[in-house]
C-alpha cells in the first residue's frame, strides 16, 4: 500500500478569514483505487478538491502526487501532471460544441501553437482528426448517441449528458488521478445508476486510474468506492470500508444526529 500510493496529503489545512474550512486532513489513495469522500455540506470536501487542483493555496500542510509536492503550483501545471476534475456545478462551456468541450481536455498535449494555427494547417488537420477520433471513442464509452451530437452546443443537452461530457473532458486529459465532485448532483435515482455504470466503465477502460469521488449520498458511495473517508467541519472523522464508516458513531451523528447541521 505505502509504495503503491499515487497521491497523499499531509496535514492539509486552509482557512478563509479565520474560518477553518479544512483542518489537518491526511488522505491517501493507491493506484487504481476509488476513494469516496463523504460528509455533510460545508465539511470541506469541495475545498479539498480546490486545493488539490491548485485553485486555493493551503494555509498549512502539503500534498504529493507521484512522490512530488504540488504545493504552490499553478492549476495548469497540476493539471498537466495528470490530475483532472469535474465540478459540482457543471463548468462546461455551454456555447461550445460537445467536441470542443472534450478537446479542451486534450489541449495541452497538442504541439500546435498560434503560429501553426495560422501557417501550418496540415499539422492542425492531422492533430484535429486524431483528437476527434479519440474524443469519439471516449464519448461512445458513455453514450453512443453523444457521438452524433458532437457538433451540438453543450447547452442544448440534458443534465445527465452534460455530466457525461464533463467526465469525458476530464478523461480526455488521460489523467492518473480523477476527482469527481458530486457527479450525482441534481439527478434522479435512475440517471445516477446509469452514471455509476459509466464511471465503472471508465475504470475498466484504464485500470490504472485512481478516482476520488465526493458525495454525500451514501448509496452512490457504497456502489462504487473501495474505501471511504468521512469529513466533518473540515476534519477527518473516520476512514475505512464503507460498512465501517457508515457504522461509525461520529459519522452517524454528523449525518443524522445533532440539530443545526444541514444535510
Amino acid at each position: 500500500m505505502e509504495n503503491n500510493r499515487i497521491f497523499w496529503t499531509k496535514d492539509l489545512s486552509i482557512s478563509f478569514g479565520g474560518l477553518v474550512a479544512v483542518d489537518h486532513v491526511n488522505i491517501d489513495i493507491a493506484r487504481g483505487e476509488v476513494l469516496g469522500l463523504i460528509g455533510p455540506n460545508g465539511s470541506g470536501k469541495t475545498t479539498i478538491f480546490n486545493i488539490i487542483t491548485g485553485i486555493y493555496t493551503p494555509t498549512d500542510g502539503d500534498f504529493f502526487f507521484e512522490g512530488e509536492s504540488l504545493l504552490g503550483k499553478p492549476p495548469y501545471e497540476i493539471a498537466r501532471k495528470g490530475i483532472a476534475r469535474t465540478f459540482q456545478i457543471s463548468r462546461l462551456c455551454l456555447d461550445l460544441s460537445v467536441l470542443d468541450n472534450v478537446f479542451i481536455g486534450m489541449h495541452y498535449r497538442q504541439k500546435h501553437w498560434l503560429i501553426d494555427a495560422v501557417f501550418r494547417r496540415d499539422l492542425l488537420a492531422r492533430e484535429v482528426s486524431e483528437a476527434r477520433d479519440r474524443a469519439f471513442s471516449l464519448l461512445s464509452v458513455f453514450n453512443k448517441e453523444l457521438v452524433g451530437l458532437a457538433g451540438v452546443p453543450v447547452g442544448a443537452l440534458p443534465q445527465i449528458d452534460r455530466r457525461r461530457v464533463e467526465i469525458c473532458r476530464a478523461m480526455a486529459m488521460e489523467p492518473r488521478l480523477l476527482l469527481l465532485d458530486e457527479p450525482s448532483a441534481g439527478m434522479t435515482l435512475e440517471e445516477m445508476t446509469e452514471l455509476m455504470e459509466d464511471i465503472r466503465k471508465v475504470q475498466e477502460e484504464s485500470k490504472e486510474i485512481s478516482i476520488i469521488i465526493v458525495e454525500h449520498d451514501m448509496t452512490v458511495i457504497r456502489s462504487i468506492s473501495d474505501r471511504v473517508v468521512a469529513l466533518n467541519y473540515g476534519r477527518k472523522i473516520a476512514e475505512g470500508t464503507c460498512e465501517e464508516v457508515s457504522h461509525n458513531t461520529e459519522v452517524r451523528e454528523a449525518y443524522l444526529g445533532k440539530r443545526g447541521i444541514k444535510i
Binding site: 478563509f16 478569514g17 469541495t46 480546490n50 485553485i55 486555493y56 465540478f87
Partner: protein, 308 residues
C-alpha cells in the same frame, strides 16, 4: 505663500471638486447595488441636470420672477432634480433594466449608447446646443481670507450644499423604510422580493435618487465653472465610476471617500507635478489603475472569496 499654505489652499479646492465627484459616484454605487449594472450614461445625467437648470432659469426669466436670487437657486435645484430624476427613471425602465441580466458587455454598450442618445438629444433640442452655454451668476461672489488662504463664498456654498445632499442621501438610505428596501435589494434581490419588497419600485426610486443627485452635481459644476456643455458627461462618467471603484463599488461611504480622493488627486497633481495642470487627470487615472490592480475592492470594500 508658504508650501503649507499652498497645500491647504489646494486641499480646499480639491474638497470642493471632490464633493461634486462624490455626488456622481453615489449614483454608480447605488445602481451597481440594486441592478448589478454600471450605468455609463450616468455622467450624462450630470450634464442633463445642468441643462435642465438652464431651461428652468430661462423660463423664470421669461416669466419675470427671476428677481429673488435665493428662491431662484432653490427652484433651479429642486426643479432640475425632479426633471432629471424622471428622465433617469424613464431611461432605466426603457433600456437599463431590460439589459441588467444580460452579459456585462451588453449592458455596458447599451448604457454607453444611452449616453450618446442623451447627449445628442440635448445638443439638438437646446438652441445652438453645440456651443458652450454660459451659466447665470446667482451665487454670491467675492471671497474672504483665512490667513493667507483665499476662500470664495461660491465655493463654500457649493461645498456646504454637497455636504447637505450627502447627509440627506445617507439619511434616505440608512434611516427610511425606502432606504432599507434599497439596501435589501442590493444585498439579494430575490430574497428581498420574497420578503415583500416591491423590486421594480425600489429600482425606480434608486434611479430617481441617483439621477437627482447627479443633477445637483451638474448644477454645482455649472455655477463653479460658469458654463456647461453637452459633452461634459462622458468624462464625468469615467470620473464618477473611478471614484466609486476607488472607494469600493457598492458602498455609499466608499463613493464619497473615492470622489473626494479623486478631487484631491487632481488638484494636487495640478499644483505639484511638472506639466501637472494639463495632465492632472492622467495622473488621477493612473492612480485609479493602480488601485484596481492592487486593491480592486476599493478603500472600504471587503475581500470576497470566489466560490468555485
Amino acid at each position: 505663500m508658504t508650501f503649507l499654505d499652498m497645500l491647504l489652499q489646494q486641499s480646499i479646492n480639491g474638497l470642493m471638486l471632490g464633493i461634486m465627484y462624490s455626488l456622481v459616484a453615489v449614483g454608480f454605487t447605488l445602481y451597481f447595488g440594486v441592478l448589478d449594472v454600471i450605468n455609463f450614461a450616468h455622467g450624462d445625467f450630470f450634464m442633463l441636470g445642468s441643462f435642465m437648470a438652464l431651461v428652468l432659469y430661462s423660463i423664470a426669466e421669461a416669466a419675470g420672477w427671476a428677481g429673488n436670487t435665493f428662491l431662484v437657486v432653490i427652484y433651479l435645484f429642486i426643479g432640475s432634480m425632479i426633471l432629471t430624476g424622471v428622465v433617469g427613471v424613464a431611461t432605466e425602465r426603457l433600456c437599463v433594466k431590460p439589459v441588467s441580466k444580460a452579459p456585462m458587455l451588453i449592458s455596458l454598450l447599451v448604457t454607453l449608447g444611452l449616453g450618446i442618445a442623451i447627449r445628442e438629444a440635448v445638443r439638438i433640442l437646446y438652441p445652438r446646443g453645440s456651443d458652450p452655454k454660459g451659466f447665470p451668476t446667482l451665487l454670491p461672489q467675492g471671497a474672504f481670507n483665512l490667513g493667507s488662504i483665499v476662500i470664495r463664498y461660491e465655493n463654500l456654498i457649493i461645498f456646504g450644499l454637497g455636504i447637505v445632499v450627502i447627509i440627506v442621501v445617507n439619511f434616505l438610505i440608512n434611516r427610511t423604510k425606502m432606504g432599507s428596501a434599497i439596501r435589501a435589494v442590493a444585498q439579494d434581490g430575490e430574497a428581498a422580493m420574497m420578503m415583500g419588497v416591491d423590486l421594480d419600485r425600489t429600482i425606480d426610486i434608486t434611479f430617481l435618487i441617483g439621477s437627482a443627485v447627479a443633477a445637483v452635481a451638474g448644477i454645482m459644476n455649472g455655477f463653479y465653472y460658469g458654463k456647461t456643455m453637452f459633452n461634459i458627461g462622458a468624462m464625468m462618467g469615467v470620473i464618477g465610476f473611478s471614484a466609486a471603484v476607488i472607494g469600493g463599488l457598492g458602498n455609499i461611504y466608499g463613493a464619497i471617500v473615492g470622489g473626494i480622493l479623486f478631487g484631491l488627486l487632481e488638484t494636487f497633481a495640478a499644483a505639484v507635478l511638472p506639466y501637472g495642470a494639463e495632465n492632472k487627470r492622467v495622473f488621477a487615472f493612473l492612480i485609479v489603475i493602480l488601485f484596481l490592480v492592487f486593491r480592486p475592492t476599493g478603500i472600504l470594500g471587503e475581500k470576497v472569496y470566489e466560490r468555485v
